[in-house]
Amino acid sequence: MIRLQDVRRVFHQGRPDELVAVDGVSLHIEGAKVTVLRGPSGSGKTSLLALVGCMARPTSGRIHVGDREVTSLPEHFLAEVRRRTFGFVFQQFHLVRGLTALENVMLPAYPLGGSRKALVIRAQGLLDRFGVGSRSRARADWLSGGEAQRVAIARALVNDPQVIVADEPTAHLDSKLSAGFMDLVAALRDEGRTVVIASHDPIVHDSTVVDRVVTMRDGRIVGEEP
């Protein structure tokens, strides 16, 4: 599904504070599987996730999404790939304050155009599916942590992406909600979606849902299980 070849991401290139966040990573993320990246803080999980999710271009190396080479795509093509192929869930959920839950879910679909009515129905359906349908008219800043996360997941799914990318999705959740999140992940995988999670939460990488755990340190992959 997604193939990385000798990928590097360097910040402040050529300056004294040059920093190699991802250092020569080669990785094949298989479709319809749950992959977890783990490692200590600063090991480059988020940076790698950004490369996988087409949010940033690698300084060198190649990335294929499906059979498409995305490394040197102009930004608007990358954005196009990003919004059609990936759904994102962030550590702080990052809902837009002041907009309702429903509007937040609809946001990723705006650049695609398409009928508004159909979009509202789709977004409401996703909210219903995750049990927050009754909160659809509530403003994002009034939602509880668990609700906010469900809305964020609904938003990630609104363009029906093949891949879900999540960065520390359980950091702000208690154990019960975290376990609930992993159940949702299982359901997504069973629909045939690919899930990539960066996390150092044991509830995540010890979960039975996870197919593969990749361990990182100093920007490199130091271990894989199984």
Binding site: H12, Q13, R57, P58, T59, S60, T71, S72, L73, P74, E75, H76, F77
Partner: protein
């Protein structure tokens, strides 16, 4: 120097837009120099970001250019009472030797900026910035033209002296006098009109053929590019007497006045829009063989051709209507 509010508006906005252009050109030069798509270096990323800024700026340059083109004519028009003998824009433009060159350069600059935006759009259709070097070389060539226009415009207003004795449009665009205007007006009207109508029909035909079969893009480009200057000349020598219903009145500016139902606005808009979209098709022809554009570019050209056909047809209908309903009798 004349301290007219719209003179201030024209000169001030030209300076602002000029500053934007210099800034764009600076980054354009860096892009031409250091562009390397295969690199993910921070310089390359920064350059790619600049491309967004430059396209946005050029878009605004185009909009403001159009607004100031009209305002320039209006201003010249309203300054006319300051000059002995001037009765409309034609006379005030004649009152300084920079007047007509400014106007022509303004039209030319507008046309080039529009073509640039068409090329820019085409470039964004390919996944590997296929036209990036061409586009920014073009920008580097375009900038001096637009800057020269800014300078000429300022020089024109500085040069204007209210005491100057000039001529009214009747003598400037009359067939008896000498000079560019009267040369235009002195063209045999039936010849100018005939050539224009033939070009227009040719361009519309070529546009339809291109839209349907994707062939003949060069022809469409050439015919519609030609129809801009020929169209302007034909308005002076052939069409305007039909509007004024006076065989000797050839002024291209009075068309913009309420007296003549502002007929000049749709007329010039359709002429500019139709000919520039058509010319854009031609400009893009050499790039059809680029692999990353082989699907998208022809489709884009077809859309351009569609616009061109629509606008030129509108223009043709408008011209036909003017001629048909005019009480001017040609002997």
């Amino acid at each position: 120097m004349i301290l007219h509010p719209s003179v201030l508006a024209l000169v001030g906005s030209a300076l602002l837009v000029g500053a934007l252009l210099v800034y764009s050109a600076f980054w354009g030069a860096r892009i031409v120099q250091s562009w390397d798509l295969s690199s993910g270096s921070e310089l390359q990323l920064a350059l790619e970001r600049r491309t967004h800024l430059i396209s946005t700026l050029l878009g605004y340059v185009l909009v403001f250019g159009l607004a100031s083109l009209f305002l320039f004519v209006f201003t010249a028009d309203s300054l006319a009472p300051l000059f002995t003998g001037a009765m409309c824009a034609a006379g005030s433009l004649h009152a300084s030797r920079y007047g007509y060159p400014t106007l022509l350069l303004q039209i030319g600059g507008f046309a080039l900026a529009a073509i640039w935006l068409i090329v820019n759009r085409a470039d964004s259709l390919g996944y590997d910035y296929p036209l990036v070097r061409f586009k920014y070389r073009f920008l580097l060539a375009l900038t001096p033209v637009l800057l020269a226009e800014t300078a000429l415009r300022a020089a024109y207003f500085l040069d204007l002296k209210p005491e100057v004795i000039t001529s009214c449009c009747g003598s400037l665009f009359g067939s008896g006098g000498r000079g560019f205007g009267s040369d235009l007006a002195g063209l045999p009207p039936s010849l100018a009109g005939g050539v224009f109508v033939a070009l227009l029909l040719g361009a519309i035909g070529a546009g339809m053929v291109f839209r349907i079969s994707g062939r003949g893009g060069w022809l469409l480009g050439a015919l519609s590019a030609l129809s801009l200057p020929v169209g302007l000349a034909a308005v002076v020598s052939w069409l305007s007497p039909y509007v004024y219903e006076l065989p000797t009145h050839h002024c291209p500016f009075c068309l913009l006045q309420g007296e003549y139902h502002w007929i000049g606005y749709p007329l010039y808009a359709a002429l500019l829009g139709g000919s520039l979209t058509g010319a854009g098709v031609g400009v893009l022809m050499p790039f059809r063989s680029i692999p990353s554009l082989d699907v998208e570019l022809p489709a884009y050209q077809r859309r351009l051709a569609g616009w061109s056909v629509a606008l030129l047809t509108g223009l043709g209908l408008l011209v036909g209507w003017i001629v048909a309903t005019s009480h001017l009798r040609t002997s």
